[in-house]
Assembly symmetry: C2
Homo-oligomer: 490 residues x 2
């Protein structure tokens, strides 16, 4: 380990950037705005993928794969969608390089200009709905419930590892339905899947709600989202599910014959969750010592570090530990016995702390004599010495306890940093301190824009589960029926 | 089902194209040269991915993710590599569209021209070795054993679903080592993994060998490959593993301090296997009725079709079948009970035959009375009626038997279509009939080129496991030490 991490309290932003790099999650590549996801980071992403993919399949979805390129004319078809993505896309204009006639190297071959430019997909509604046109003729062909795991590109000027990168990895679900009701039900169901994933796997409490018109996905009728609070009190949008109405079906002329034998445009949803969630995972739980990973997503859930002077001592420890390692594996715990003698135990402890391994066991010769082991929890940084006998079931229980504790800690933090605010002066003061503000809003885009301009706060969501409560807009004083959630955000 | 498939004997090529589409594996997209992999096809690819990924991890590799884009200057660094890929690559030149000032739609914004063009990766050696430069300082940092699952783009003028598409999916392993020996060992180990995957999972017998210099990967010192025979006697390259020497380390200046404290360039390998294998799977085993899938890669391994007249009958069958379905699932068999009453049993039989479901059970009221069920094997198209009691273990055994039988059939076919040829006249006659030709070759690129020009046959590989045998080159008559394998290929 080199020098300590920056402290969250001193420079949250720098703490995040450094932690992502030092914990070997990701790094900037030489390609502007694109990241390299390193093996340790990718192993976490694989666990996220597996969990989500299982949930998608359990809810009746299948995976498929659609082209990386979107012809420009496809993007143009849905007007709002085009406007939303045209300004930040990678454009392929040629299909060949040739040797530089004037010297060394390669140049673009002007004879290999494409008749129509291809856009590297920023999202796949256009290319997928153009495909669905061939798949949907009758109500019998519906619903179509498809998900795609893919890379997408949105040209960003200011990038941050995981949170905002030009290329990122995600899944995008694209479904087609015979009725509006069914499509809305799907939109809400997938929001539920995201919320379950965030809370049960990432240990990340989320609010569920609707976006205001200003914050909607380009081309959506309604955008649902989950929002989580980071440790600096800012919000991070952690998954969106869109009800697209018949917008894309109309743009791509996707009609089906309904049960009454009438032609009708299909109803659509799309929903996505990306490597951005890796950023949320880091920002929500980690501390000044490094990552704190929820056990369900930790590539290594338990590490065992032997403390020894001689090879004979190591052999004795190994003999005692090996059956424990095997039993832990058979219980589904991913465990590493780190007998690498290139590094000292103290160095290893710091490394595993930095990498967020939930449970660390240390065992020396005295432990071996006493039949004990030292167990350190990453979430609380507490240690205790307990008997080796029956350690396996204790670790399994401890991992569950840590998973629950990380969630509870994040929930308590969010609750302590959520404020009901009813005056504009209080709003301006509170937003500087951070946190979520529940306030009344008059429902107009104008007010929303003014609040954003004056405070950098946006409406994160209009909560789905809320109590109606009449009040006056915190900014305009106009009447309002429910509070919405304001915050600054990533 | 619409009209029958074309017959292999009449038009093998058309049979393949139609089968891929009708069995819902893939279709052409509106984006030139790019395919849509449909859910059924993607489910097979997912099974391939899982099997390979498990083998990569078992051999010590980790997954990571590197950028989609390769700056032009990176591609230029390794000269042969650049030459090999420059002529068929998608070039990103701009990062923004804007509203057309002269009318409707979007146009490329000339103000958003990139300073340096970006190439959509045709393969990732350049971008990865540029990254490894930052990761490798000492022998302690080696080996680096990384794999990436990704999409790549090679601009193809003539495309065929799975076999040759502009965009395809693959995995690419990229490893760095301290010694040449270790890198060669890795190259051979991964060739072995591919051969095991092809034979044990795809039921596809393969030959292992080296490519001739003409057929080597651009930038490799040595290319190892596995080659399989399709039912028309042509060869299909099914995975390659490259020993890259220090070529990329030198191009990207990746040096490490070795154990003797001397700076040295790192040694590299790369190895890849793509969605092309989906094409091999179809072409190697399927018949005029449709797909024949090896059970280990079949999304549905067993389908159960009830034959009934009334709802009561169906209820009785369902009651008897449900526990069987549960037991099969618990034994790891993916099973579907198809009680959909939109289609008749005959239609379903044909559909599942088209889709290559290995085992089909049909059960009617008489079967229920007799305690029997009709079992149909997809590979042999044979049927027999057997007792329902104990059906589960019989199905498990039958799936193993089918897996083995499909492999044996393909092996017997290859053996029957492999010929040792010693005269040029015989060579020319045999190559028209198809199959693999084992012949002596004088080892020169000139002879290889002439044989290719005259017969369209290439050296598929120089076998790894072979007996030395001195002879005379089948074309030039010059001396030769071993036979090599010639064939026409995909």
């Amino acid at each position: 380990m080199s020098k300590a991490l920056p402290k969250r309290s001193e420079n949250y932003s720098e703490w995040y950037n450094e932690l992502v790099k030092r914990a070997d999650l990701a790094e900037h590549s030489a390609v502007k705005g694109c990241m390299v996801i390193k093996p340790y980071g990718y192993a976490i992403w694989e666990k996220m993928q597996r969990a989500l993919d299982d949930m998608f399949k359990a809810t009746g979805h299948q995976n498929a794969y659609f082209p990386l390129f979107v012809p420009k004319s496809f993007l143009e078809k849905e007007e709002e969608h085009a406007e939303g993505f045209a300004k930040e896309c990678a454009v392929v204009t040629h299909y060949r390089l040739k040797s530089n006639p004037d010297g060394k190297g390669l140049v673009v071959d002007p004879d290999a200009k494409l008749e129509e430019e291809l856009i590297v997909r920023p999202t796949s509604e256009a290319v997928i709905w153009n495909t669905y046109k061939g798949w949907i003729q009758s109500w019998r062909d519906l619903p179509i419930l498809i998900n795609q795991w893919a890379n997408v590109v949105r040209w960003e000027m200011r990038t941050r590892l995981f949170l905002r990168t030009t290329e990122f990895l995600w899944q995008e679900g694209h479904t087609a339905h015979a009725t509006s009701e069914e499509a809305i039900e799907e939109t809400e169901k997938m929001l539920g899947v995201y919320a379950t994933f965030a809370e049960d796997w990432m240990a990340l409490p989320v609010l569920k709600g609707l976006k205001s018109a200003n914050e909607r996905f380009a081309g959506a009728v309604e955008t649902y989202c989950i929002e989580a609070m980071m440790q600096d009190g800012k919000a991070l949008q952690s998954g969106t599910s869109h009800f697209l109405g018949q917008n894309f079906a109309k743009s791509f002329d996707v009609k089906f014959v309904n049960k009454d034998n009438q032609p009708e445009y299909a109803w659509a949803t799309s929903w996505g969750l990306s490597t951005r969630m890796m950023g949320a995972l880091v920002m929500a739980h980690s501390d000044d010592n490094g990552l704190v990973l929820p056990p369900k997503l930790a590539p290594i859930q338990t590490v065992i570090v032997p403390i020894y002077r001689s090879e004979e001592d190591l052999a004795k420890i190994t003999k005692r530990i090996n059956p424990i390692v095997e039993r832990l594996k058979s219980l589904g715990v991913s465990v590493k016995f780190d007998a690498d003698d290139k590094y000292k135990p103290g160095y290893k402890f710091a490394e595993y702390e930095l990498r967020g391994v939930p449970v660390r066991l240390a065992i020396g010769m005295r432990d071996l004599e006493n039949g004990t082991v030292e167990v350190a929890r990453r979430d609380t940084l507490s240690k205790e010495t307990i008997p080796l006998d029956g350690i396996e079931s204790k670790i399994v229980a401890l991992l569950d306890e840590i998973q629950a504790n990380i969630y509870q800690k994040a929930l308590a933090f969010r609750e302590a940093n959520t404020f009901q605010i009813d005056s504009w002066d209080d709003f301006k003061v509170q937003i500087e301190k951070g946190g979520f503000i529940e306030a009344h809003w008059d429902g107009t885009s104008e007010t929303e824009e003014r609040i954003k301009t004056e405070t950098k706060a946006t409406i994160r969501l209009i909560p789905l589960e809320t109590t109606e409560e009449s009040g006056a807009c915190v900014y305009s004083g106009e009447p309002s029926k429910q509070r919405v959630v304001f915050a600054r955000s990533y």
